[in-house]
Amino acid sequence: VTVLVALRVGRIASVILAVTIVTFLLMRALPGDPAQALLGRGASPADLEEVRADLGLDSPPIQQYGNWLWGAVRGDLGTSYRTGRSVTGLVVERAPVTLELVALSQVLALMVAVPLGLWTAHRSGRRLDKATRAVSMGLYSLPGFALGTLLVQVFAVRLQWLPASGFVPWSDSPAGHLRAMVLPVLTLAAWQAAMYTQLLRSDAANILNEEYIETARFKGLSTRRILFVHTLKPGSLSLINMVAVNVGVLIGGAVLIEVLFAWPGLGRLMVDAIAARDLMLVQGGVLVTAVAFVLLNALADVLTRRVDPRVQGNGSR
């Protein structure tokens, strides 16, 4: 077991290392000069050289990467070129905002998708199933920022029930915090609820045709028990993996929602950093999202095996 764990940890570490190397190379390959971005149009060559030296950009790339990696191992992700602030501090400040947004949106999406997916699988071909599929298709095809804008126009501008933008820390006002959460979470959860519903419906529909389900029916088990106990468990394998992938993606990729609602999240921080060639910040952000992604996938593997012990380490039976 120890060897397996060590192998697993080694694999995770090598994936994360590879991601940071690729990010470093990609950022170096991007056209545009960070020093020029900082100083703007009027800077002289001497000024630019000075800033490049301050930023450590004048040393060989391998040395730059090595310095960064050595710092990262010690918990120091360096200083952001653009803001002059500690990358670790910025990531730590932003991560909870995004994590809360992503977590709540997943909870909401699953709260909708699980009962609806199971029920439409059970009542396949009926009105609710057809209506759910139609709505799901609509939500798929509606970009997140379009749905968000629509929700803002209705609930914030017209009805003035909820704020149109802004993040309110829990410490400032718990009620304000929750009100500010509603529209972003709803926007992010909507298309995922649609996706999860259809995914679960599809898997559950196959399971409902299995012989052991028929047996359960003959035994007189209630529909609720058949669906939530005997169908959900084997039918959720794809869903678990999809949720894990989605959460990983959204930790860095909820940027459109963060921009639309002016939230100080991790995705917005990263996108700004990429645009400004803020290498240190991009490296730090990618490291955090890569770690989250890999850990979530590992968690998904564990959960999958708990659900179905026949599943191997690579997620297949």
Binding site: L30, P31, G32, D33, P34, Q36, A37, L38, L39, G40, R41, G42, A43, S44, D47, E50, V51, R82, T83, G84, R85, L90, E93, T149, V152, Q153, A156, V157, Q160, P163, A164, S165, G166, F167, V245, G248, V249, L250, G252, G253, A254, V255, L256, V259, F261, A262, W263, P264, G267, R268, L269, M270, V271, D272, I274, A275, A276, R277, T289, F293
Partner: protein
Amino acid sequence: MYFTALLAGVLLLSACSADDASSEDAADSDVADPTVVGSDETTTTAQSAGEAETSAGIDEVQPAQPVAGGELVYGLEAESPQGFNVAAWFCGPSCRMVAKSVFDPLLVVTSSGTMKPYLAESVVPNSDATEWTITARSGVLFHDGTAFDAEAIKANLEARTASPIYADAFANVESVTVVDELEVLVTMKAPWSVYDRWLAGPAGYMMAPSMMAAEDGANNPVGTGPFIFGEWVLDDRLTVEKNGSYWQEGLPYLDKVTFRPIPDGIARVASLRAGDLDVMQTDQDELIAELRGVDGVRTVESQLFGESNFYNFNSTRPPFDDIRVRRALVMATDVDQLNELRGFGVSLVANGPFPPGTLGYLENPGVPSFDPDAAAELIAEYEAEVGEVVISLMTTQSPSLLKNAQIVQEMWRTVGVDVEIEQVEFTEFISRDVTYDFDLDDGRLFGGNDPDLQYRWWIGGQVGGFTDPEIDRLVGVVRAATDPAVRKTAAEDINRRFAEQSHYLFTSWTVWVAAATDEVGTLNLSFDDGEVVGVVLGDHFLTETSLNL
């Protein structure tokens, strides 16, 4: 999917940052020349004349009895990630809104163009403008309790001279000497008749020496302004609180201001309409058009000293090193139609670098008229001699700039010019622009009310790479001449020269708007003689602003 999401975000934010950064270039330009406003030569176009009251950025709302107290929430178009060391970094409209709350400038320019000492008691040149004497207002304290005095002014001015962003423009400063407790003498290498105009912008915002010395000073601004810096959560909010010991007795009225950066314009307008914001700023034509029709919201519009939107020809290489090609594209561009199609008719059609109200403005500087046939002839003549004209138009990922590019691409195609549109990120854009690695790109620059503020862009043809000794000579006259009439003539000659040489293709002048709900009192700063400072280049003072509590 992860990278797709990131890429989409990059596209969205690059659009915003492109606009922000270009407006930052005009950051230190909000100064005026009293010699030209109201003269015959400053006759405005029909559009601006019809909106004379609002287009000067003056807020018409003036409560009879302002009520003290309350918190105002202000929606900014961008964050200021580099902080508020205004000597070290460009300070765009959003930065200036915050900076004007915490810092005071040495001088201000009123909406009629009059220069007025503000934090300085006086700013006076000698007869040939080789020396300037700046006298500090006495009894003023920085928020850290230290005195605003001659030493503080010297530290601030020397920081500008040493700064990469001001070094070009301020290279003419020989020395800054403390004369006594309140007086500073600035000695120039050569006459500089309009040095004071720079001091009305961020170059004249006075920071506390303690802030400039602190390692993290940019993130903890300390000034003498009406509000004291409170808390800053990057990309979320920055708060300032009333300075109870402000040197202007009884001011400010507001207890607190929260600045919220909301880069997405649609989200910013929605936040204003939803009541999350009290005031917001914008220069986006489509948002201005929308805001004009919102009940309970007033728009304070400013066309004063606005930046020019233009196409920038790279004159260092073919084909734009040939005036025939530059001139042909100017004649092939229907700027009226362009403005209608892309800007909802909000912006003013530009005929040069100086909008109405700015020294050098001319109703007709001699820009070649829209004449596609003549343009086609010039292109044919050039192609017969040199070869086919195939050009790349470099632009950022801003949707509105792309729309512009597509419109002119079609206009130029009709005269025989093939144009490839190349969209790049702003960082790449600026890097390639300054190294002249492009054929043609777009820009928004040259804002400000005095041609001297463009010194660093035009001397030696910095923007566009043209070589024009006549422009260099005229820019020198504008900087050095002490006779207003000589300066006026030189500035107008610059305008004519740009029109004649087609160094740039000017399309429109920017309109800036501060939109406020009915709960908000005046956005003006007023003086006893009736002069006011309103919205200029996207920012304004909040010193006399109040809320209807």
